[in-house]
Symmetry: C2
DNA sequence: CGGGATCCGGGGCGATACTG
DNA sequence: CAGTATCGCCCCGGATCCCG
């Protein structure tokens, strides 16, 4: 459950759909780095769980739109909180991580050199 | 980044630590299903990123306590939102998923029998 | 255009055994 | 009590090919 909704691609897809219905190709273009496989899979899971609806228009060329359901929108708060926090603190995290690199915090082996000074 | 903070174990560890400092074994007992490996790994990552502090007491038997930092507490909102949503809607999700099972939504192959009736 | 099927490598993750 | 090191399975996830 948490595995599903906390999933990176799920978070990105849901937050991307917050603006409104989007087509498959729009989603793929909006979400940097997502592969066809992951996008399709994530969309299916979200549809299965009732978080989004899938609407296929019998046109040519074919068009498919995805949109958040009410349940999906109820997740928006949590998801945007995650995404927002990530965006707001990612530089601070990076700094902390770099600092840990120097102090050796969070590493298993001190390894040669760390204890020499 | 999202991969890290959206991680199932991260969410559970952070939300578990919301009450206050806890020992390693307390965390393992509180978080059902977590393995020693994942707990240790998650704690290290969180410490590296500056979300928790690790305090070792030079006693016997040894005692180590983990506690959220201010940065960690700033994540609490998002994390509890996730955990709360998951808890609140997991039954609804389960129902939707079961319903999809019948309608065939979200499955690749209709397979024999699904289209017969 | 939207998406299904398949192949394949990397590594996440869970036991297990051991240490200090 | 609080970890660390190792092994092995499994599945994620990208690349590719193909179809309606």
């Amino acid at each position: 459950m948490l595995d599903r909704i906390g999933d990176k691609w799920t978070v990105l897809v849901v937050s991307t759909l917050s603006a409104g219905a989007l087509r498959y190709s729009d989603l793929q273009a909006s979400i940097a780095g997502i592969s066809q496989r992951m996008l399709t899979q994530t969309l299916k899971h979200l549809e299965r769980d009732g978080l989004i609806t899938r609407t296929a228009y019998p046109e040519v060329p074919p068009r498919v739109e995805y949109e958040l359901t009410d349940l999906g929108r109820s997740l928006l708060g949590a998801v945007t909180a995650m995404a927002g926090w990530a965006a707001a603190h990612h530089s601070e995290i990076a700094r902390n991580r770099a600092a840990s690199e120097l102090t050796g915090v969070g590493r298993g082996k001190p390894s040669a050199g760390a204890s020499a000074g």
